[in-house]
Symmetry: C2
Subunit: 413 residues, 2 copies
């Protein structure tokens, strides 16, 4: 069964390779139109999922993520149109050289082939992932959370009908309807047909994929992000940055979890930051030195510095200087986004050079790590691994390259 | 123990990040000199390994791979000097943009961090791998075959002394002296410290790493490569290319294993190719149509078309045209190197576009897929996966990128 799905996807990927940008445009617009036309049916099917989850006692947060509304479906269609408007990355030649023996060697951007995407019970990801794959001429196998199965089925059916109406291979987008754990584990080992696997979701899902997959994985990430106020920092700027990084959207991966403050400015900076965050009821958990200045802070444990709270909680540490700050971040960080606030040229450069993370900021909030903010026009996720893609992933990160070599009879001596 | 090695490597990697190209030059030249000075000691230790393998009844081929000579050690030193002469890829900025909010976002080439390399009983790989990692400011953990343990120890000791003499962190290069299967399996799951794992060696080794690793792997590859003589091919050119691709070095991954010939030219092309390969005693295994033209060929089975012989054996199939040729290659190929011989513009373009492989050739031998032939000046291996690196890997493939972002107080609204 899974074998068949894999084989069909691989065959479709060969067909997709041949399609022009104009044909892909037709397909993405057809998907957007079909989703809009099919709103009543999608809402009906979604209601089955929502009712079932509610009957099972699902939390309000889970139910919210699962629930579709007319507005949400229109947003999904709109998302497809936005991706359609982006430049097609396929076919670009990244470089071409003529070798001494006359061989002309070019490096060309091509689709990855078949992409597996494993995600949770968020039906909007079904459209989003399919559209990004199609735009980059990849076939995809989607495995969404079991709680969203009715929603996902009707959405994929809608997209597949739209694709068929414009002559696209029908297996370009496939949903894994069997959402059992056994089958998803098999999917993670489907090396013969899958070129890459992208997990999108929480820590548990990502960890499970990293632990079990034999197919290459792009790990999208957890973010234990820091803001470091160096001794030369403009304190009001630092306060604004940490307040934004902590409170503007605490549940996302680019939110800050820990504030590091240079001891030379701690007495001034800490109360100012505390004051600025008061309206958000942020819970402070600080080191001993922090508590000497701000007794309102709870005592932070080792565990606190290693935790991605995703909540209105902030770990705080007073550090002796940039060496300690860099060492702390490289030890506890997850390689996502890290920021320094400083007026010192050398401190800025050291931080940029020595911090081992996907995105390193000087005098800006970590919250900017995002495909849209970086100007990619789309985002598949934020990679915290170092292979293939690091940081926000746009369309280019769904491609690979191929060497194309033009000869006139060369053989190797 | 492995935990300690991992932690030391990670610490060393942070130090390596800060070193300049000039400091790395000093280190690589020191390694080259030290290897030359230490030839007698290296030969002594190598003799222990060779004697032990001979006593165990190792094959002549294995003994040859394991045996060092003065010349081979001089070649290793020379290899270090050649890598040293290449341009340092670290620090290059691949692009920088100013966003509407004033953030300046650059993408910078940085080291991967800690690279694990698992290889067989070939002591020259010990130097080669270490030098490529050092040139790209990566720390490495080397795990060579157990039969080469004395050779590897003395070589790593020699390199580490040389590194210390120029002030390099001592854990930049570490050898895993415990070569047990249990420990190598742990190495494959050392996600906290290892950024990437590269297996270098035969099929069994690579498969084992792909199956067991949770650390991201760069799969270097097996090659079931094809030459397709399309109907418009210049037959003498085609004969020269397939002869070169099959016989110039049959044991390597870029050698051809299967010849596909268009039925329109099979009667002329097959006897000519057979004749040209006669002096190499190539065994032909052909389809029925091949055997109708060349009764000397044995009958090929399905299995033959899927096999990487690495030997003087050639599978041969007569195909009805380019559609069948492309389908055959995409089915049986391993995504390594594929060649068409043709005079037809459209056939050339279709082959380049539709073949799913790392290197696709028109009118040239598959044997050119190689870091040196491609002008990279070095080669870590040839990747047959699609993530991160595809085809020959040079120094750049041992790097990742980091976004560096320059702000002046930006926060996200």
């Amino acid at each position: 069964m899974l074998e068949t799905i894999g084989k069909q996807a691989k065959q479709a990927s060969y067909q997709l390779m041949k399609l022009s940008a104009a044909q892909k445009e037709e397909a993405l617009l057809a998907i957007a139109d079909a989703l809009e036309k099919n709103i009543p049916a999608i809402l009906d099917e979604n209601k089955k999922d929502v009712d079932a989850l509610a009957a099972k006692g699902g939390t309000q947060a889970l139910i919210d993520r699962l629930t579709l509304t007319e507005k949400r479906i229109l947003d999904m269609a709109d998302g497809a149109r936005q991706v359609n408007a982006l430049q097609d990355p396929i076919g670009e030649v990244l470089g071409m050289v003529k070798r001494p023996n006359g061989l002309v060697i070019g490096k060309k951007r091509v689709p990855l082939g078949v992409i597996g995407i494993i995600y949770e019970a968020r039906p909007n990801v079904t459209v989003d992932a399919a559209v990004l794959c199609l735009k980059t001429s990849n076939a995809c196998i989607l495995r969404g959370g079991s709680e969203a199965i009715h929603s996902n089925k009707v959405i994929v059916d809608t997209m597949v009908s739209a694709l068929s109406s414009v002559g696209f291979p029908q297996y370009s987008v496939q949903l894994l309807e069997d959402t059992s754990r056994e089958t998803v584990t098999k999917l993670m080992k489907l090396n013969e047909y899958l070129d890459v696997l992208i997990p999108r979701g929480g820590k548990g899902l990502i960890k499970s994929v990293v632990q079990n997959a034999t197919v290459p994985v792009i790990e999208t990430g957890t973010g234990n992000c820091h803001v470091y106020m160096e001794r030369s920092a403009e304190i009001p700027m630092g306060v604004e940055i940490i307040t934004n990084a902590k409170t503007s959207r605490p549940a996302v991966c680019n939110a800050a979890e820990t504030l590091l403050v240079d001891e030379a400015i701690a007495e001034e900076a800490l109360p100012a930051a505390y004051e600025a965050m008061k309206e958000f009821h942020v819970e402070w958990r600080g080191c001993e030195k922090t508590r000497a200045i701000l007794p309102q802070a709870k005592l932070a444990t080792e565990e606190d510095f290693a935790t991605e709270y995703n909540d209105y909680i902030l770990a705080v540490k007073v550090v002796s200087g940039i060496d300690e700050a860099i060492a702390h971040i490289n030890r506890y960080g997850t390689g996502h986004s890290e920021a320094i606030v400083t007026s010192d040229y050398f401190a800025a450069n050291r931080f940029l050079d020595e911090i081992d993370a996907a995105a390193v900021y000087v005098n800006a909030s970590t919250r900017f790590t995002d495909g849209f903010e970086f100007g990619f026009g789309a985002e598949i996720g934020i990679s915290t691994q170092k292979l293939h893609a690091r940081g926000p992933m746009g369309l280019k990160e769904l491609t690979t390259t191929k060497y194309v070599i033009y000869g006139n009879g060369q053989v190797r001596r």
